[in-house]
Symmetry: C2
């Protein structure tokens, strides 16, 4: 394990998302050493994160270890670490892993660090309305969602007031993009189908699911006709869609919203999910500062048409971090960007002309609303309902199988779409007791500990209706 | 949801393990209201916990929500809460849920709170050698096990010393009962099969797995001939079995052991798993104090032959918490005890004679060592190797299917036993970064931050051997 200087060029890739992983794979046959540095040890199939949060899939099904995905690619290594500095002049990246600092020299650099959740300058909202960007987020939300029903059952057994019960059984999703819509749809399904028979003191069907957005429409990136259909589908599922509603405050008990006329309102809700905004990794600014550029308002850095950093043909910035032609922050942009960067590097290695412009091929756009309902647009073709849902299913299955054979995922979907079961509802103590208790204790505690009756009579469980 | 006094007797069950759940199910047709109070919202199939820790199964596969298991049982309700007091005179149980105190009256009480991990009076060991009793434990260990390989890869890339690498790649399991043996076997399989191709700077096959026990033999509850075979199987897997070795100290770097002659030795190891001892729930002592009894050295309370608490025919204590005829702490004792208690309650309701003695029917004993290898004894019949492993597979599948149809589990097993993949290796930030970093930061930090070289040359990944 002694170090020897390598004669081969080193391609350093920051990030193990779609962009980083596809770039690494596209360099499989290139005469380079590839190092992927990422702050998690797994690749994350983000489009299905909401299914982990709502108990359909387990983390392992959407987050394979990056080193397992790349295990057969001989020229690639994977190292765990958070990038804390990119030194363009020295061609070095500095990482930190549990306090261990390290420098990595590179000949080519691909920066694909993606985005983080953004609470639009209100990071204090995060404790009460966790985001939807990581496995940890999804498990945290799983604990809160199923935990809210547990608390509601207890509160009902205690004979608490209707207001308190309603607060416990109100779920608010902030942000009506694809993630928010999918989350709201699943929350409705949980209430109406999955949990239907599981409680004795509450009726999960009384749960309220509210989908909020400051914009005047749901799924703003889709064609108008599809947006209308999506909104009606959501309402048919019993979801309250409130548009033009900006969140101005979030606390343990609910949130404050302001409409477009500046009128304020209050929604009492125990569980809040933040699916509203993202901001590019701070590494975009680290790069921008060194080349005298400004990041845009989503924190993205402008790149050349060939996806390189201006003045640095050895550095590509791809995916959600880059600003180019207003391309959306979707998996396909990252995947195609990763492949483009890899192709450019291969050309450079062969001494061919580089600097070819990136042409994004829009393969279409889709979002599921609930089982059997989705919307999709491919070019000018617009599809809704069951057909769109089957398209969604096929596309997502193909992706997952691309990384590893996941027959189990198909089976879990069969169980959850055809049946009403969910295999992955387990919540850990860490989530329910430690996190909910430690983070929200003062509030939850105070609120739950002061009630109408201190030692109510035990109530007989009401008979479940058939 | 108004409370009305119930004319039906209330059976309160503490615990949602094998004992509590089988007791509840055995009361399905009885004219009673059943309340199951437990501190987790899931039943836990403990015998497979080691598979969650080592990445084969997801939590949902061995921990179905208790209320889902009982959803079709109309006379049963499930409430989340930790029992903090049992008042035998008032026939009341006091619970605490996130600070919410509640009293539950009962006509019949079944106490099935099981055991907790015991570090034999050394609770300070727990931070460094987590137990194996809960989903949280298993996920914590999953994070530490896979995290140790990540750290080892980094350390090797840094050119750290052989001693430091060896410490990171040494896994010690303390306790050579079935849990410890299964855990050690899986750790060996991880190193030899699962992770074989995943690293570039370390060779996982160099990992050391050490199985320690203070006793002179592995699997003490099995017949001598089987024990010998098990020990040889473990050694064939490359596991170092060290018997007669008592752990006298555990820290971030390793552990101190003392042999039967009082000689001390040191084992350098980053990852330690505590599978050594259990102690009955403190509720055993709560009960014992009220009836003037003493708990035994495992904290268990002596019960009458009909499993009732002496002087309290309305209270049954079942499973791992009770001391009777030196019955072992296995699932079958809890299951049969739960059914016996339920049968006694049904007899009492019908006005029939109660107080029938509990007869434990020993259905046999089995332990897996690794895939395709197990030992089993049923009465005088002793089976080893592949046949025993198939028996193990069938018995465990039947149990799991008893709670819910888990076709996915069978598939995951196919993937992991026939192939070399593991579907559930995902570790959360919470586990690797938060827990490992926060709990062990001072040590890990200091150790990793001070190395032979502060900014070593990047080393070229060694070519992977085929």
């Amino acid at each position: 394990m002694a170090s020897t200087a390598s004669p081969r060029p080193r391609v350093l890739i920051i990030g193990s998302g779609f962009g980083g992983l596809f770039a690494a794979q596209a360099l499989k046959r290139a005469d380079v050493d590839v190092t992927v540095v990422a702050r998690t040890s797994h690749h994350l199939f983000q489009p299905l994160l909401y299914q982990v949060a709502t108990g359909i899939l387990s983390p392992g099904e959407i987050a394979p270890p990056t080193r397992e995905v790349l295990s057969r690619q001989r020229n690639a290594e994977v190292l765990l670490g958070e990038v804390i500095e990119i030194d363009l002049a020295a061609r070095e990246v500095h990482t930190d892993t549990l306090g261990l600092r390290r420098r990595h020299r590179y000949d080519h650099l691909i920066v694909a660090a993606g985005t983080n959740q953004s609470w639009f300058g209100h990071d204090e909202f995060a404790d009460y309305a966790p985001g939807m960007k990581s496995i940890d987020d999804a498990l945290e939300l799983r604990g809160r969602i199923f935990g809210a029903y547990e608390l509601a059952e207890l509160a009902a057994a205690e004979g608490r007031s209707a207001e308190e019960l309603s607060r416990l059984m109100t779920f608010v999703v902030i942000g009506a993009g694809p993630t928010g819509v999918e989350m709201a749809g699943q929350l409705a399904e949980l209430a109406r189908r999955t949990l239907r028979r599981d409680f004795r003191h509450i009726d999960p069907e009384n749960a309220r699911v509210i989908l909020l957005d400051a914009a005047p429409t749901v799924l703003g990136t889709f064609h108008e006709s599809l947006r209308g259909k999506a909104e009606r589908s959501l309402e048919q599922l019993g979801i309250q869609v409130r548009l033009g509603a900006m969140v101005v405050g979030v606390d343990a008990y609910g949130l404050d919203v302001e409409d477009t006329d500046g009128n304020r309102g209050r929604i009492e809700a125990f569980t809040k999910v933040w699916a509203a905004g993202v901001a590019a990794s701070p590494l975009a600014k680290v790069l921008a500062d060194q080349v005298g550029l400004q990041v845009d308002k989503q924190g993205r850095i402008p790149v050349e048409r060939d996806l390189t950093l201006p003045g640095h043909p050895e550095v590509h910035v791809i995916g959600d971090m880059m600003a180019l032609d207003n391309l959306p922050g979707v998996a396909q942009v990252a995947i195609q960007g990763g492949r483009h960067a890899a192709a450019e590097i291969r050309r450079a290695l062969r001494g061919e002309r580089t600097g070819q412009p990136f042409h994004y091929k829009d393969k279409g756009n889709m979002a599921t609303i609930s089982r059997f309902r989705a919307i999709a647009e491919v070019g000018r073709i617009k599809v809704t309902g069951f057909t769109a849902w089957v398209m969604w299913l096929v596309v997502h299955l193909l992706y997952i199988i691309g990384f590893k054979s996941q027959v189990t995922t198909l089976l879990r979907w069969a169980v959850s779409f055809i049946g009403r079961g969910r295999a992955e509802r387990t919540i850990t103590q860490q989530q329910v007791l430690a996190r909910l208790a430690l983070q929200e204790t003062p509030d939850v505690h105070r609120w739950l500990a002061t009630g109408p009756t201190e030692h109510p009579e035990d109530s007989r469980p009401p008979r479940r209706r058939e």
